[in-house]
Symmetry: none
Subunit: 155 residues, 2 copies
C-alpha cells in the first residue's frame, strides 16, 4: 500500500477545483475507481482522505459489528454517510464539496498533509497552527514510537 508523505499546498480555482499533489496521485492509482474518498474528520477541522481499498476495508470491519446496533449506526453515519468519492479530472484535480470546504474552513488554498496510510486536507493557516502545537506536545511529552516486532516495513 502506498504511503502519503510531506505536505503540499495548492490553489482552489473559481470552480472549486484543486490539484491533488502528484505524489499522492501516484499513490492512488491502480484502483477500480480513479480518484479518492474523503470525509470530515470528527475530531479536527480537516478532511480525511484515503483510497477506495481502505474504504472497503472499513466496510468489512463495520460488517463485523452487530447490524442495527447503536455503535454500527454511529460509525456508518459518521463515516460512510459522510464520505464522498471524488474522481480525478484529466489533470488530476478534484472538486471539494461545499460541506467539506465549510468544515475545514478552506478558501483560496488547500494543504494536503501526508499521514502514512491516509492523508488530510486542511486550510493552510489552520494546519500550520495545529502542526506547531503537535510538535510542542511531542517535545514536552517526550513522544516515542515503538516499532512493531516482526513486521517488515515494506508491506
Amino acid at each position: 500500500m502506498a504511503l502519503f508523505l510531506s505536505t503540499f499546498t495548492n490553489k482552489v480555482d473559481k470552480k472549486g477545483r484543486v490539484s491533488v499533489p502528484a505524489p499522492f496521485r501516484a499513490a492512488l492509482v491502480g484502483q477500480n475507481f480513479n480518484g479518492l474518498v474523503a470525509f470530515r474528520s470528527y475530531r479536527l477541522p480537516a478532511i480525511e482522505g484515503l483510497d477506495m481499498a481502505r474504504m472497503e476495508q472499513f466496510s468489512e470491519s463495520a460488517d463485523a459489528l452487530d447490524l442495527f446496533s447503536e455503535e454500527h449506526e454511529d460509525i456508518t453515519a459518521t463515516i460512510f454517510a459522510d464520505a464522498v468519492q471524488l474522481p480525478f479530472d484529466g489533470e488530476g484535480r478534484i472538486v471539494l464539496p461545499q460541506n467539506l470546504v465549510d468544515h475545514a474552513g478552506i478558501d483560496e488554498s488547500a494543504t494536503f498533509v501526508g499521514r502514512g496510510r491516509t492523508f488530510q486536507i486542511w486550510q493552510p493557516g489552520k494546519f500550520e497552527d495545529f502542526q506547531g502545537q503537535a510538535r510542542e506536545r511531542a517535545r514536552d511529552q517526550g513522544l516515542t514510537l515503538r516499532l512493531r516486532p516482526g513486521q517488515d516495513g515494506d508491506r
Copy 2:
C-alpha cells in the same frame, strides 16, 4: 458487493417519485430485479434500503436462528414481512409507498444516506439531527473502528 457512500438529497415530485442517486443505482445493477428493496427501520424514523443480494444474506442469517423461536418470529416479521421491492422507472426513480413515507416523515425531499453495504432514506432535517448526534457520540466516546485482523490493507 456494492458499497454505498455519501448522502444525496433529491426532490419528491407530485406523483411521489424520487430519483435514486446515480452512484447508488450503479451499485444496484446486476441483480435479477431492476430496483431496490426497502423496509421501515425498527429503531429509527428512516427507511432501510438494500439490494437483493443483501436481502439474501439477511435471510441466511435469520436461518441461523431457531425456527419458531420468538427471536426468529420477530426478525422475520420486522424485516421480511415489511420489505417491498421498488422498481426503477426509465429515469432511475422509485415511488415510495405511503406507509414508508409516513414512517420516515418524508415530505417534499428525501435524503439517501450511504451506510456501506446498505443505505437509508430519511427526511432531510431528521437525518441532519441524527448525524449531528452520532458525530457527537463518536467524538465524546472516542469512537474508533477496529480494523479486522487478517485483512491486509494493501489490496
